[in-house]
Amino acid sequence: MSNPLHPHHEDHPDIISRNARQGLILFLIYFALYGGFIALNIFRPAWLSETSIPLGDYEISLGGPNIAIVYGVALIFAALFLALIYMRLTKTPRS
């Protein structure tokens, strides 16, 4: 073996690239959510004051607050949720 590090050590190239790849995927997911929010602000600001989402013949009620509030708060929770997933994924097994 050219690399002296244990394959489960967090400085091992395999672990580094695995973490970087997973981080990048989660980053892209969040970027899409964040980008969606900005796009809504730019292109469809009128939708932000709606309190329900029309879905065909049905409407999904947001429970009172409008889309702006729900999406905004959801972005904060999404950051935390994805962060916890990342922590789970990158957990290095004990060597």
């Binding site: 967090e10 400085d11 580094i16 973490n19 970087a20 981080g23 990048l24 989660l26 980053f27 969040y30 970027f31 964040y34 929010f37 900005i38 602000n41 730019i42 600001p45 932000l48 004051s49 309190t51 429970g63 009172g64 607050p65 409008n66 702006a68 509030i69 905004g72 708060v73 972005l75 904060i76 929770f77 950051a79 935390l80 994805l82 962060a83 916890l84 990342y86 922590m87 990158t90 290095t92």
Partner: protein
């Protein structure tokens, strides 16, 4: 009276500063080496570091600026919160681990890990200094602006010099912070930030519970300084039918064609200004309804008249009455209709609070642009505007975010640019990056970022309630949105006010200490040790860093006093844009593009820094606020540079890397021949 000297606030603040300084001096004994001074020996527990991230990041702009923006404009302030938090996702998923793995003490260390290039270290050190100083200015300006209203410190006379309260605020913060940093570097900075971060989140949580418990009222006169603005129905009978008592002044000079009526009380000669509000289908009525306004008149001799009388609290004097209320309150058991109104909602749940406000009508106060009257006095008028809750709970009310309602592409590009800079800037702020060196390994770096995200995210949700609470608690100062959060606390009593004031002030301490430390590391380690290759040992490096911290502290004090009149959020925007344009492309490409060269990195940092700074200095905002020129003359299409300069910096890195790589290959070929 809105502000007065508060002994309790002073005591709470002094005891906090005393504790922190004592702790710093105690810990200072342990921070004699570079490893101790710059990185707290890499031994900080991840949880402490995570909360310290919050203490480092949540600056006065976050706390006071966002609360104030929400209190005055509604949702818009929350838009900032979303952008500020989103930046942490970049920090965690992209930056945290490599920065920890590659670097040791400074951001330049990590960037240069592969190359050992003086060029990279020089560029990174300069960008660290530039970003830190730009970020320091608004913090110091904030400290100066806070000291009088929060602690009620009057002006000092010292050896024939008069030191105004603003300057003493800047000086106090500058000295205390420098002392903290110089005594124990990163060790004490971490603990200051930890204490500040936990106090901030904790007390904002308590305040939010108090807001929800109190609910919303149409007459929120909790401090005795509020009254709902009066209106006089058309025709303004009270005025017209009492010619012996009231006189309507003619609309002359700058008052011509303005929607105001000046009414003079004959007996006293006091002049009050009323706003014409009545409209039918968008057309003004011949005799309008009149609504009470508040006025500030600065006479040519410097005296100030508030609401027609000299500002003060003696008889024959007057001061602003506090504002912030709902004009119509939806009953929360039937929130769909305004017809079912109530005066007081009683305790509300977190969701109910938002829904009730959304279905009510709020009085938002606006101000007319200050104009000069015929006698040379400067007039500013503040007037209430009844706004449906549905408009308050969506973005687009603040001038900053008017883009959302605009159809111009430049306005939309400006908004995207700002949100991009907030997203990319966080993970490139030097004072945030150095915090990664205080934990022992990558796993701790990850965990502490997650604690940071949790505390910062929670804080931003709490500020939404604080802002909306301030909007409806009848304690706002119409002239100063930054005071919204402390004044909201005042509506619950003197002690909450004292605590929140002390926390607001320590907020400045926590962030400023991080910035000074980042700057001192850039000078002592990157410039002196690595670029100039000065022959200094570890102990001397720490000494040099301490001297630098003192110099940077002094520079911060001077700049803080010089930039007194600058808009704080404007300056924070600068720092985020410069950090995002100069630092982020270099870090990201170094990690994800194997063909990155040292010249590519250096060029990208320099181009990112110079282009974003140049763009800002040529923007309409700078024309208006710095040079006092017509903003239309500005040479750039929108204010925020990020949308152009971040991609530009990436592009420069790619192009320069490709060019320099080819040269290197050729060189190698030539060498072989």
């Amino acid at each position: 009276m809105i502000y007065s000297f508060s002994l309790t606030a002073m005591l709470v603040f002094s005891s906090f500063v005393g504790t922190v300084l004592g702790l710093s001096i105690y810990l200072g004994r342990k921070a004699k080496s570079s490893q101790g001074y710059f990185a707290a020996h890499g031994q900080i527990h991840w949880f402490v570091n995570g909360v310290a991230f919050a203490g480092d990041y949540l600056s006065a702009a976050s706390f006071l600026g966002i609360c104030g923006m929400i209190a005055f404009y509604g949702y818009d302030g929350f838009l900032y919160s979303i952008g500020f938090l989103a930046g942490w996702v970049v920090a965690l998923f992209v930056i945290a681990e490599p920065i920890k793995r590659l670097g040791k003490y400074t951001f330049a260390d990590a960037l240069d890990a592969r190359f050992n290039s003086r060029g990279i270290k020089l560029a990174a050190a300069i960008s660290t200094l530039v970003v830190s100083i730009f970020y320091l200015i608004p913090q110091m300006v904030g400290a100066g602006a806070l000291i009088k209203p929060l602690l009620g410190i009057p002006e000092f006379h010292l050896a024939g010099l008069t030191i105004p309260p603003f300057s003493s605020g800047v000086i106090i913060v500058g000295l205390v912070v420098t002392l903290i940093v110089v005594t124990a570097g990163m060790v004490s900075t971490t603990w200051v930030q930890f204490i500040k971060g936990s106090m901030l989140v904790l007390f904002c949580g308590v305040l939010t519970l108090m807001i929800l418990h109190r609910g919303i009222s149409t007459n929120p006169n909790y401090t005795g300084t509020f009254h709902a603005p009066r209106t006089i129905a058309a025709p303004a009978a009270e005025i017209l039918e009492n010619p012996a008592q009231y006189k309507i002044l003619p609309e002359t000079g700058p008052w011509k064609n303005k929607p105001y009526v000046r009414v003079q009380e004959v007996a006293t000669g006091n002049v009050r200004v009323w706003k014409k509000t009545g409209q039918i289908n968008g057309f003004p009525m011949i005799l309008s309804n009149l609504s009470e306004t508040q006025t500030l008149i600065e006479l040519p001799d410097g005296k100030r008249l508030v609401n027609g009388q000299p500002q003060g609290h003696a008889s024959g004097q007057s001061d602003f009455f506090t504002i912030g209320s709902v004009s119509r309150l939806a009953a929360h058991d039937n929130p769909e209709t305004l017809e079912d109104e109530s005066q007081n909602s009683g305790p509300l749940g977190p969701l109910q609070y938002l829904t009730t406000l959304q279905n009510s009508q709020v009085l938002l106060w606006k101000s007319e642009k200050t104009f000069t009257d015929t006698d040379g006095s400067k007039v500013t008028i503040y007037y209430p505007q009844a706004t449906p809750g549905t408009d308050v709970m969506v973005p687009g009310n603040a001038p900053m975010f008017a883009a959302i309602k605009s159809e111009r592409w430049q306005d939309k590009a400006n908004l995207v640019s700002l949100m991009l800079a907030l997203f990319c800037g966080t993970a490139a702020l030097p004072h945030i990056l150095i915090r990664y060196y205080t934990v022992k390994d990558q796993a701790s770096a990850r965990k502490s970022t997650i604690v940071g995200i949790a505390s910062i995210g929670l804080f931003y949700i709490l500020t939404l309630y604080l802002g909306l609470g301030a909007m409806t608690s009848g304690t706002l100062d119409p002239t100063n949105s930054n005071m919204a959060a402390p004044l909201l606390a005042k509506s619950f009593g003197e002690l909450p006010f004292a605590i929140i004031s002390a926390i607001a002030f320590t907020t400045v301490l926590g962030t400023v200490s991080g910035l000074i430390l980042a700057a001192s590391g850039a000078v002592a380690r990157d410039l002196m040790l690595n670029v100039l290759r000065m022959n200094i040992n570890d102990h001397q490096t720490v000494q040099a860093a301490k001297v630098t911290a003192m110099v940077v502290g002094l520079i911060a004090i001077v700049l803080g006093i010089l930039f007194e009149k600058m808009n704080v959020s404007f300056l924070v925007g600068w720092a985020f844009n410069i950090a995002a344009s100069a630092n982020l492309p270099a870090i990201v490409m170094l990690l994800f593009w194997p063909r990155t060269t040292k010249k590519g990195i250096t060029a990208s940092i320099i181009v990112g820094m110079v282009s974003s700074l140049g763009w800002i200095l040529l923007s309409a905002d700078a024309y208006k606020d710095i040079y006092g020129l017509d903003p239309k003359l500005s040479l750039v299409p929108f204010n925020q540079p990020g949308l152009v300069t971040i991609p530009l910096s990436f592009l420069v890195l790619i192009v320069v890397s490709l060019i320099t790589r080819r040269t290197t290959d050729e060189d190698r070929a030539n060498f072989a021949r």
